[in-house]
Amino acid sequence: MLYYIGAISLILIGLYAVLVKKNLLKIVIGLAIVDSGLNLLFIAIGYVKNATAPIFSSESLTADKMVDPVPQSLVLTAIVIGLAVTAVALGLVIRLYDHHKTLDINKIRQLKW
């Protein structure tokens, strides 16, 4: 349960950053936090108490002693994707800073209406 609470609070913190902070970098960080929260949540879903990693490292391990492997593998993918997105985002932030000389999202509003 704690995991869930932790994950969800992470998501909310990230959301707060994204929605309220004006600095582009902080928004990107917020996105990353949301991502982490989501990943954590997913892991938490697959978690089985007192289980080990889903690797057949010894004979005694059975499937019910392991955590669910699917979420873990999915999260792995999700992390990679999140990383890619963050990288693109940071690249864009750099370019925006080059052009606008500011990181304030309220000032980067050329395209509107």
């Binding site: 996105l31 949301v34 699917v70 979420p71 985002a89 864009l92 050329q110 395209l111």
Partner: protein
């Protein structure tokens, strides 16, 4: 080698990785590779198309049978859309061939190939997590392509797109989580068969998540704030890609999921209304745009609203009409973006006012733009008319006269802003004749689309015969589950 649906994903993906390497050797080759790939895929599509129309082809990857393995589901709907994507992709490549002259070309084509991979992947995959992955591939490629021009505005547009796109992926990931938690499976068919296992409130929550998550990609109001920016700031062929390929894939995925899991009258009703709102607001917003491509973007939103609306009606006729509309929108909007790209290029400004008088200086490009505009308004004898007619008939058979009236009111608005541009094009004005001409590849691309528009406009039966099976496939979840699970 027998063509199989896997090639749709594998070949462009492979090409995408090949391109940077080839780029070290020859730029020309870089330009040619996507064309060859898309030509191959188009050829394959045409070969595979009749088969897919008859029976869904299930392609299993890595040897595990569904529901455990990852499967590709090449049903009638997917066949229809994938064929559209590949053919349109080829035309877009043709157009890009001379249009994209700015470095780095290899990155452009790499991302373009990735986009194709993602889009076909979304349409073909039978696995919800793969769907997520392909969505992300598409999204990341789109972000990057939006920013391709490296100027102030494109970066801004890309950032907005990214910001909202991240929400989309987050919401969709949550959906996947919920579905997985209660069913323990990721295969769509399997999921659908086990949908009863999900408690009602969780299912409802998943529905909301899907609506928001996929709605962002499907550009429903009010989740489409990113779209006008991205459409208008991306290079014109990419605008065409967005309008013709990306959003089609997203809408397909959206509707597929809705139909599989949440097909209740209330949900369909909601989709109809949200589609209608999207349509009306987008058309109204388009009315007062000053930039040609931004206007096209809003128009695109409106058209997708119409598609979503028609899908929401949920009958075979409406679905086939929606698919028809998707097809037309893809073709016509691609042509409009193509023509707009060169109009902007020739006039040197994105503003609508600056195209004044170009109709005489650049007659062919302007002609294609006008043709596209008339077609998208829904004038016979162009293809846009038939799909609109079919949509209206399908709505009328449900007895919703008011919706028809509202759609047509929006169409009047649409007519106004398109005609405004046509009028500007053909207003006589002394302009310095621009020695630059629209290159032959661009004209060829537009010409192909124009021929498609006119041929289907005069003889729509070319297309309509395929719509019925495609629509039935999309509607029939039972069949999907059965064939998807063997």
């Amino acid at each position: 080698m027998e063509f199989s649906p896997v090639h749709y994903i594998a070949v462009p993906l492979f090409a995408a990785f090949l391109i940077p390497l080839v780029g070290k050797v020859s730029k020309e080759l870089v330009k040619l590779i996507p064309g060859l790939v898309l030509l191959y895929l188009s050829y394959g599509s045409i070969m595979l198309f009749p088969k897919g129309m008859e029976n869904p082809i299930i392609e299993i990857i890595a040897g595990f049978k569904p529901p455990f393995g990852i499967a590709l589901y090449y049903g009638a709907t997917a066949a229809f859309l994938v064929t559209l994507v590949t053919l349109l992709g080829f035309v877009i490549w043709l157009y890009s061939y001379k249009f994209i002259i700015r470095e780095p070309i290899e990155k452009y084509y790499m991302l373009f190939m990735l986009l194709i991979t993602g889009a076909t992947g979304i349409m073909l995959t039978g696995d919800i997590f793969n769907l997520f992955v392909f969505l992300e591939i598409t999204a990341i490629a789109s972000y990057s392509l939006t920013a391709f021009l490296r100027d102030k505005d494109s970066a801004e547009a890309a950032f907005k797109y990214l910001l909202i796109g991240s929400f989309s992926s987050a919401f969709f990931l949550l959906t996947v989580m919920i579905l997985y938690t209660y069913t323990g499976t990721l295969n769509l068919a399997d999921l659908a068969s086990k949908a009863d296992m999900i408690p009602a409130n969780a299912k409802g929550f998943a529905l909301l998540l899907v609506i928001v998550g996929m709605g962002i990609e499907a550009e429903i109001f009010p989740l489409n704030g990113w779209a006008p920016d991205a459409y208008s700031q991306a290079p014109s062929p990419i605008g065409a890609v967005f309008a013709g390929i990306v959003v089609k894939a997203a809408v397909y995925a959206f509707i597929r999921i809705i139909f599989l899991f949440f097909k209740t009258p209330e949900v369909l009703h909601f989709i109809v209304i949200i589609g209608l709102i999207t349509l009306i607001i987008a058309e109204m917003a388009a009315l007062r745009q000053h930039q040609i491509k931004r206007m096209l973007a809003f128009s695109s939103l409106g058209q997708m609203g119409l598609v979503i609306l028609a899908l929401g009606i949920g009958t075979t006729e409406s679905t086939s009409a929606a698919l028809f509309q998707m097809f037309n929108h893809a073709v016509i909007k691609a042509m409009l973006f193509f023509a707009a790209g060169y109009l902007v290029f020739h006039s040197g400004s994105k503003l609508i006012d600056s195209v004044t008088g170009l109709g005489y200086d650049k007659p062919i490009t302007s002609f294609f733009f006008s043709l596209g505009a008339l077609a998208i308004i829904g004038l016979p004898p162009f293809s846009g008319f038939w799909s609109k007619l079919n949509v209206l008939i399908s709505i009328a058979s449900e007895g919703e006269i008011l919706i028809i009236v509202l759609i047509l009111a929006a169409s009047v608005v649409e007519a106004v802003y398109y005609l405004r541009i046509i009028g500007k094009l053909y207003t006589r004005k002394e302009i310095d004749s621009n020695p630059r001409r629209t290159p032959i590849s661009g004209l060829l691309a537009m010409g192909i689309l124009a021929i498609v528009i006119i041929v289907i406009g005069i003889y729509p039966d070319v297309l309509t015969q395929w719509l019925q099976p495609a629509a039935e496939n999309l509607l029939n979840s039972e069949e999907y589950i059965q064939t998807g699970l063997f």
